[in-house]
Chain length 423, copies 2
Amino acid sequence: MAQSLHFSISHSCTESNARVGRVETLHGGFDTPAFMPVGTRGTIKGLTPAQIHETGSQIVLNNAYHLMLRPGDDLIARRGGVQKFMGWDGPILTDSGGYQAYSMSDINSIDESGVTFKSIIDGSMIHLSPERSIEVQNNLGADIIMAFDDCPPSVEPETLNESRKRMGTKTGATTGDQHRDRLQTAHDRTICWLERCVQAHGRPDEQALFGIVQGGPDLDLRKASVEAICNIELPGYAIGGVAVGEGPEIIRQVVEFTAPLMPEAKPRYLMGVGYERDIVDAVRAGVDMFDCVLPTRNGRNANAFTKSGPKRLRNARYGEDDAPIEADCDCYACSKGFSRAYLRHLFMSKEMLGPILVSLHNIRHFQRLLLDIRRAIREDAWSFLFRTWPVLDAPAPRDDEAEIQDEVTPGSPGMGMTGKGRG
Amino acid sequence: MAQSLHFSISHSCTESNARVGRVETLHGGFDTPAFMPVGTRGTIKGLTPAQIHETGSQIVLNNAYHLMLRPGDDLIARRGGVQKFMGWDGPILTDSGGYQAYSMSDINSIDESGVTFKSIIDGSMIHLSPERSIEVQNNLGADIIMAFDDCPPSVEPETLNESRKRMGTKTGATTGDQHRDRLQTAHDRTICWLERCVQAHGRPDEQALFGIVQGGPDLDLRKASVEAICNIELPGYAIGGVAVGEGPEIIRQVVEFTAPLMPEAKPRYLMGVGYERDIVDAVRAGVDMFDCVLPTRNGRNANAFTKSGPKRLRNARYGEDDAPIEADCDCYACSKGFSRAYLRHLFMSKEMLGPILVSLHNIRHFQRLLLDIRRAIREDAWSFLFRTWPVLDAPAPRDDEAEIQDEVTPGSPGMGMTGKGRG
């Protein structure tokens, strides 16, 4: 039997659970810890595959939810799969669609069979079950596919911040007890659904199915979830249910507790996280894979990441600033010398090239962070990492500082205090 | 005295007035006949300079009008000029701003001093005179700059098509006689203004000022204009006042009549034209330089040019079409195999990558046409050109077939029957 995924660890950190490794798939490999930029609809907004390669990205994420609705997973299957469809010759990971069904849709019902919701394209009723999610992902043909999980908000409704409330997720007026019941239900259901996903998986030799650990902020529930989920033999496992409305401290606690419990020989994927500090903390807890919409979403909104913190390029102070976004950056935008003044002009003029250049920079920013993280692990160079990345010592920005929602995705979730989000 | 521009002709056609040559400027050279893509606001929408180079473009056009209003020509001067500002290391040509002032603005007055109009940015009153236009273009620092001309619609008001009428240009309810008077005034004024442009030009050693022949569809007036304009010694001359509302036959007549009258040793530039057939006709009349918004504007609207005619990629027929836009095309989109099905998906999903890929293809389409035209001139290969470019035998598309206006530019003109347009 061919193996859909091979994971090898080449270095383990002497002072933390961090490790450097490599994942190989049928469409090529990627170094871990890895950062995956998000290409929701089969495209990383505004970037050609050649430009994505130039950022140093080795694997990208697509969303089964969006591609299922448009152009349709069956249409993509007839095109030869999503790699061929989008012209990306490296590995691709697809999210199961569960999170988007919960966070973006007008949900009609959730029960053991799955989720029924209104399509954001045409308002028709869609039923997404573990079986249907895997069928969609088998059709899309990504190298890594995700289990269909039950993914409720991880904190009690009254602590959800305003942007989360505005997104209209049907949390209802539940009490704390009701919320704990909901988390327990999600936990039980996620395990049951994972078994159904494994049963339904039609291409295990080509596509690696990852299970998802749930449990919200409740560490006992997390432990039980790890035990149950990782008891099912799979090529990799993810930590889900974080970055869905809770603060960075809770994310850190959950990750530091959960990651070490997961099988050491399998890649560990932290879904939808996050800022630079969150990633470093998670790597040190033993996480190998990350995805986040921040570099592209913020890039489209003129918010540039730098080693010393974010820059809002629409700010008038940059109007006559001839420096590139970041002096030592080797991204296309910085190395070619596009000035902050020019970038500001592009954003003020609503020119596409602004979002493109800052997305390129921001993705490269995260890839450079991961390069330095891998070096820190290999060479015990953590102090070098923290010295050269001052942003790692800064407090995580508030929602209104470093992340601005854009209007691209109807019902796009506000995504809580630290502004992360599963694509 | 340094020469701002050097033009050399290497081949002259044996059966027409066409010639192959090269223009050298302080920022590099370009082969002629040349096609210049339009980068209105200091960016060709959605494309990086690296991608523009990949299309084979050697010179680009910017609009003084837009850059003067935002970010301001003085700001760009302080940045070291528009080449450095936009990161384009080749030659740039700037339009004078006159055409945009006429076609896009709420004009308050036109008199001998110049044009007074409302800014499309903030509604403030702007006065553009020959002196101010040249000052703006001296500030921007393009290698080729254009005289500030009086550029009225070239046909009588009642024959303007609907889209032109909708744009609200203040043509007023003039009669045919009044319109001829207006053309005569424009002719006289353009000559007077050119003399003032020459006087005002502060950087003649670095920037080549081109005069613009006017005269509308009236061949006597064209002849008089050529005589007066080309009597003023300049590095190059343009044919203006075409592609402003008249049909392709009138353009052809005017160009075939006018181009051969212009100095043989100087580059001849036909402003704002056009479709493939219009370009070939103009080259055979002796024109050396072209610019047009068609490849980018139509590209953003999912309209792809091919050698056999336009393709509307939003059409449902392409939903499962695995072929690239054009099989033998060497543009990034076609050579990497992006399918019509994927491109349609991108446009249906309003993804930026759709406009980007089709703009790349369309610009390359025009550059390939110019490559084949230069070969036809050098090798007497016109029959090969017409055989391999079936679109050259097709009637020019109607406005509603191949050109769709987008919403990017407030007051963007409809641009007449053949859908051309000065940037």
